[in-house]
């Protein structure tokens, strides 16, 4: 019995070894404002992300990495479509990175980022 259990544990560990880290590749960002490496005129910036699938509008999150490297959370607006996340913010000129974490309706968590510049 001990041998059998050891064999089972061994196989389970193998599963752990072999499974990938691709859990962040489930949802796809179909379009975004700002665009990836896009240039926007400040200071008021409208953020709008569209995904290929339904995302949870209250449990997903958006944040900005500022030119100084600080992370600034953004408040999500009420969804206008089930596959959309949006926010408003005011930014000074500089290079920013918008980071998003989307929780799909089926429970998959997806992450990504959109680098952009405010002139």
């Amino acid at each position: 019995m001990i041998k059998r259990n050891l064999l089972g544990a061994f196989l389970v560990v193998t599963c752990l070894v072999s499974v990938s880290q691709l859990a962040f590749a489930h949802a796809v960002l179909v379009s975004s404002t700002p665009k990836i490496h896009g240039i926007l005129h400040g200071p008021t910036i409208d953020v709008d992300l569209q995904f290929n699938s339904r995302v949870d509008g209250t449990r997903s999150s958006l944040s900005l990495v500022t030119p100084g490297g600080a992370v600034q959370p953004l408040t999500l607006e009420k969804q206008t479509a089930p596959n959309e996340l949006g926010a408003h913010t005011k930014l000074n000129p500089g290079k920013y990175t918008l980071r998003w974490t989307a929780l799909a309706t089926d429970g998959h968590i997806t992450r990504g980022e959109v680098p952009f510049t405010v002139d």
């Binding site: 196989l11 499974v19 990938s20 691709l22 859990a23 974490t101 929780l103 089926d106």
Partner: protein
């Protein structure tokens, strides 16, 4: 949270793979109790055996599903790892996916308690089965699609049911056969299962084709995206399993005349058929973590010409850049933050050459191992039976070279670098390669003859191959990742074929009274698996990233 985020992502795919496998056994077992071994036609011992068997897997499903819910909750409550605050417990508990996770776990737990009491209360057992399939479907891609959701939910549920009835059901059938004594009843059960399996394969395939049409949408998406390539891999596994299924079909026709020896052979073929089926289920788990091909932009789909060019044979360079020539190593925390959102920095030329060198040397080792395994099949070549020891060299090579930014070559510390999922994978791979090399060497040289232990190598080969289908290189470029997968998918399929081939060879009854009737399939299997290892070696030797 940033230190756990990648390992948690890894864990979520593993849990999904386990949940799909346990779901198939649990639901398949319920269908066997209903259709294959009903109370009036099967022995009580057979039905009780199936109940105990399915109850264990139901409990396992409940545990896995609770772990899945806990893992998702912790991920959401921990924030995104870059400073954004996480959700509160109440917000997580009210999420729709969490409710589906919870319903699935409760249904599986209810099935466990019902079946522990025996095969009575079938209506309640069926209800829990329906709840399991429905909640599992709610956790699939179909639930989050924007278009055609009702049809996709229906197709997904049918696909799950078909897989459960065929693959999961067969596992329960084997339990029922082992617990039965009456050869006529065994024959009748096998025949009823045969009919159920044919119907379920038809449902599985029809639903699969429908889903492929809606999720892939084009031929170029089928061969030019990761999603499509995994579907092709599943199709190959299905065809292989169907070949064995056909062998089983003919064996079932013989069970009336010589039940015991034929049933032993039936069991061995069925083990492989189940194994291939579960391999396909593990591949299905990887599909749940990939964007459907239809959503991938045209610019990220590889053309047939591009694929043919990359896969054409070129002699390996076997030259490595110096470690000092690689780009400077970023601090670990910064790297984890970046790679968790961007998927990792694109490989530069030096990184690509480093990786190609690693793959090509690994290929040489695997090719040599396969060649020696093949030579050892011939009389008087016993020395070649030491071929598994070559894998020890591969394990050392992986530890030394796979992660140049981490210990022992790079500045990132040994323990801290476990936070990188890829490093964790490589190190565990090295440990497991060491284990299975030692096990298989002991088996090949006659030092180990224990019935279960001899199966370690084929099981790891098959499971490892299956899960390699889900392996990603996180290069940060979708096309580069696809190129990498185009070489890893054939390796995964060859690994699974080699593993199950070796399994069949080892499990075939040695005391068969009629050795001249040793199945052609078994004879072929004993030659196929070393050839598969050699082919894996050749593919690795041809590995290129540019």
């Amino acid at each position: 949270m940033i230190w756990l985020i990648q390992d948690f992502d890894l864990l979520s795919v593993l849990l999904r793979a386990l949940a799909l496998s346990f779901e198939a056994v649990a639901v398949g077992g319920v269908l066997v109790l209903l259709v294959v071994a009903p109370a009036r036609l099967a022995e009580a011992a057979a039905r009780n055996g199936v109940c105990r068997f399915v109850a264990r897997f139901s409990l396992a499903l409940a545990i896995v599903q609770l772990l899945t819910a806990a893992e998702s909750a912790l991920t959401l409550m921990g924030g995104d790892g870059s400073g954004t605050p996480g959700l509160g417990l109440r917000e997580v508990l009210s999420a729709s996916f969490f409710r589906a996770d919870f319903i699935l776990a409760v249904a599986a737990l209810a099935l466990y308690f019902l079946l522990r009491r025996g095969p009575g209360q079938l209506w309640a057992v069926c209800l829990t089965g329906v709840a399991i399939v429905a909640s599992s479907t709610a956790l699939s891609h179909a639930a989050s699609r924007m278009d055609g959701r009702p049809l996709l939910l229906l197709l997904t549920a049918s696909h799950h049911l078909g897989a459960a009835a065929w693959i999961g059901g067969m596992a329960s059938l084997l339990v029922a056969i082992r617990a039965s004594k009456d050869a006529r009843k065994i024959h009748a059960m096998a025949q009823r299962f045969s009919t159920m399996a044919m119907v379920s394969v038809a449902v599985l395939v029809a639903a699969g084709i429908g889903m492929a049409k809606l999720y892939v949408g084009s031929w170029s998406g089928m061969y030019g995206t990761s999603y499509g390539v995994v579907i092709l891999a599943k199709t190959y596994l299905l065809l292989l399993a169907l070949t064995l299924g056909a062998s089983n079909f003919w064996l079932v026709r013989e069970t009336r005349s010589e039940a015991v020896p034929v049933l032993r052979r039936l069991r061995r073929f069925s083990e492989i058929e189940i194994g291939l089926g579960f391999t396909a289920l593990l591949a299905a788990a990887s599909l749940t973590s990939q964007p459907p091909a239809i959503d991938v932009g045209q610019q990220d789909i590889l053309s047939a010409h591009e694929i043919a060019q990359r896969m054409s044979w070129k002699w390996p360079r076997l030259q490595t850049p110096r470690h000092a020539d690689l780009p400077p190593t970023a601090p670990l925390k910064e790297h984890l933050e970046d790679s968790s959102f961007s998927g990792g920095a694109p490989n530069d030329a030096m990184n690509q050459r480093w990786s190609e060198y690693n793959h090509q040397w690994s290929g040489l080792i695997v090719l040599a191992a396969g060649l020696l395994a093949l030579v050892s099949r011939f009389k008087g070549q016993g020395w070649a039976r030491n071929w598994p020891l070559l894998f020890l060299g591969l394990a050392i090579f992986i530890v030394l070279r796979a992660d140049p930014d981490a210990w022992p070559l790079g500045p990132r510390p040994f323990w801290g670098s476990f936070a990188e999922a890829e490093v964790l994978e490589h190190r565990l791979f090295a440990a497991l390669i060491t284990c299975f090399a030692i096990f298989e060497w002991a088996v090949e040289t006659g030092r180990l003859k224990d019935g279960k232990a001899v199966l370690v190598f084929p099981a790891l080969c098959a499971v490892g191959g299956a899960l390699l289908l889900t392996h990603s290189h996180g290069t940060g470029d979708l096309r580069d990742e696809l190129y990498a997968e185009l070489s890893h998918t054939p390796i995964a399929l060859l690994g699974a074929t080699a593993g199950w081939g070796r399994w069949l060879e080892l499990r075939w009854p040695q005391s068969d009274a009629h050795p001249e009737r040793r199945s052609t399939i078994v004879r072929m299997a004993s030659w196929i698996w070393p050839v598969c290892l050699m082919l894996v070696g050749l593919i690795l030797l041809d590995y290129r990233e540019s």
